[in-house]
Symmetry: C2
Subunit: 235 residues, 2 copies
């Protein structure tokens, strides 16, 4: 019985951290007064302690306490005992490297697939797909593998960005990059715009939030999915 | 005696392929009537043959013929015998994977360090740095290593993009991404804007083109370098 929220971003423009998601999270983590936070995507700027504090302040508004996984001596046990889990954003290459290096990727996969409610934002959402191959991040460290948690049987592109009208920049658009991914990989890719998220309830996957999402399938034209769309059969 | 051009992009907005570089290339490849082209960065869309044809058409304007390395039975020999080499753009993860897989990365490094004139654009420029860790590309395939050719003792960020004024997008700016790189890597990173390139003449490295470049050093504020700047001592 999987229960997962996969959000494009933690923060909307001019909004505060996790603000737009709090009503959803109140339901998602109902009956849970403490969750475990995975801060490993954060490359620097703020410490894991300060990052956890920021998350704590946001979750305090819905009466949930937060403890960082880095505070535990045994992170595997921490995951096994967690009532809820949140992986925050940062750099996906770093996050995936850390999950493998610290040796918690298998346990994280197992407990969430067994029903521990999970929230991912940005990098924490990227890892919910089959691979991290559609991240937007810079490869600042070399992960032992691009394979991720496969909570959904496709790939996620968070912070999905439409081509900027009138741009004179010659770098690839996001759509071009995802099409390039499909020359070498067959799984669908869901471009989640900021403000959208997926709700996974066991085998049911639903698009939520204000905006449509953009779905890319190998050898097919990309299509727009309206909010409320059922993605349960996407693979 | 290294002789290398490291260009941010092959093509300027509203320009044709390699157009703005042709006067420079005429001097760079002086006395050479045939160069070897490495098309391996291209993930699809056009075949290696068609990509090579496009390069051929551009170089024909300065009376240089082009042959693709994929046309040779023995690519190592092709590199050893080449009078000049050009690696074009596409996806850096793919390019680096192919260079390792086909087994030509060491030979490419050796012949260019020994004096075969080289041109790189975009992905072909990324690989001129110490690592590919500052590419903008999507990780569509998993390379055996992020280490690249080290023609210069720092990293390149091609297609360098300034923050877009008034943007409401919450994804990281290019500057933020490069700063994140510096939490884990000590080498300087040169952000080359489209229209700029580096000219390497043995140990002398000079910034060329119309625009300033942005230099990022670990634990320091980024600075702007004017065209003509001498980067010979940068490391």
């Amino acid at each position: 019985m999987k229960r997962i929220i996969i959000a494009s971003t933690s923060t909307l423009y001019e909004g505060s951290y996790l603000e737009y998601l709090l009503p959803t999270l109140k339901t998602h983590f109902k009956g849970i007064n403490k969750i475990l936070f995975i801060p490993y995507a954060r490359p620097g700027g703020i410490s894991h302690d300060d990052y956890t504090k920021k998350v704590n302040e946001a979750f305090a508004k819905i009466d949930i306490a937060v403890k960082g996984i880095h505070e535990f001596e045994n992170p595997v046990e921490a995951l096994q005992q967690a009532k809820g889990i949140f992986t925050g954003g940062g750099n996906t290459f770093l996050l995936v490297t850390q999950l493998y290096k610290i040796g918690i990727i298998e346990t994280l996969e197992k407990v969430v697939k067994n029903g521990t409610p999970y929230l991912g934002t940005s990098a924490g959402s990227n890892i919910c797909g089959l691979t991290m191959g559609t991240t937007n991040d810079m490869p600042i460290v070399y992960p032992p593998s691009f394979n991720t948690l496969a909570f959904v049987p496709f790939n996620i592109n968070p912070h999905y960005l439409d081509p900027i009208e009138g741009s004179t920049h010659m770098g690839e658009t996001r759509e071009t990059r995802i099409n390039e991914f499909h020359y070498f990989n067959s799984q669908p890719v869901l471009g989640l715009r900021e403000g959208s998220w997926l709700e996974v309830n066991d085998s049911k996957i639903t698009l939520k939030g204000a905006l449509p999402a953009r779905l890319f399938k190998q050898n097919q034209e990309a299509v727009e999915l309206e909010t409320g769309a059922d993605l349960s059969n996407l693979k």
